[in-house]
């Protein structure tokens, strides 16, 4: 069961990586990398079960958080060209 899960996730990881390498726009690549991050979270969790030690789910948990931060940082760079400026404020609009 876990073996099937791991194989399916690795295959879909390959498909997503093809999109990340081919993607016509940067947003496609970013979307593919974000999706690959979710798949890696599942893969790490499933690999722990496959080898019989499910103690290492911490890494998957950490990854779920870090992946989100990286995606949001890249998007902020896209929108403002800068990481330092703030987001929307009521005064600005």
């Amino acid at each position: 069961m876990f073996l099937v899960l791991v194989i399916v996730i690795v295959i879909s990881l390959i498909l997503v990586m093809v999109r990340a390498l081919l993607g016509p726009t940067l947003y496609d690549r970013l979307l593919a990398v974000n999706s690959a991050g979710t798949k890696v979270v599942i893969l790490i969790a499933a690999y722990g079960f496959l080898t019989g030690r499910p103690d290492f789910v911490d890494i998957a948990l950490l990854y779920a958080l870090i992946n989100y931060i990286a995606t949001i940082a890249v998007l902020k760079f896209f929108e403002y060209g800068d990481l330092g400026s703030g987001g929307y404020q009521e005064d600005d609009l």
């Binding site: 790490i44 290492f56 800068d82």
Partner: protein, 204 residues
Amino acid sequence: MNVDAIVIENIIVMVLLTLLIVVAVGIIMLNDLLTAVILSGLYSLLSATVFVAMDAVDVALTEAAVGAGISTIILLGTLSFTKRIQKPQEHNNYVALVIVCITGGALIYGTLDLPSYGDPNSPANSNPQLAQHYLTESKKEIDIPNVVTSVLASYRGYDTLGETAVVFTAGIGVLSLLGLRRRRRKEDPLLTEKQQRKQQNEDN
């Protein structure tokens, strides 16, 4: 654990390493720097999976926090201060390719003497003074269930101290290079009055 399980684990590691090669070649081929940064984030994601598959869970944790998180963000910060587009290179650098192929060939020739992957009798894994000592004695001597922690903090504590010194030095270097002079917010005409007042309050 039977033989099939070992083969399956090895195949997973092989597939992941092959994917890493593909991503690295993609970083070579693509010209946009932002694309390269995004792909290097993907590279760190995959590399943590490789570390988990190679039983190095502590390394995977560090790589997750440091490789995927911090390095992506500092690369983006650099891009926000500099240019985003790489100047296109017309010619391929054949001299570099030849040098790389020769070096890689020499290294591959060197690997023929290495022990095979996962060999329990290799010198690194069977040394009674290092690996075996840590695995058998650290429960009695340090009493921490995680061997990596006990080696990192106790047996090789001075290494970790030196690492901290290196990180501290790098921090001083970055601060002295970039400094605090970037905060010229008051001169910016685009800020609204309310924000300026807020900043003055902060500065006071």
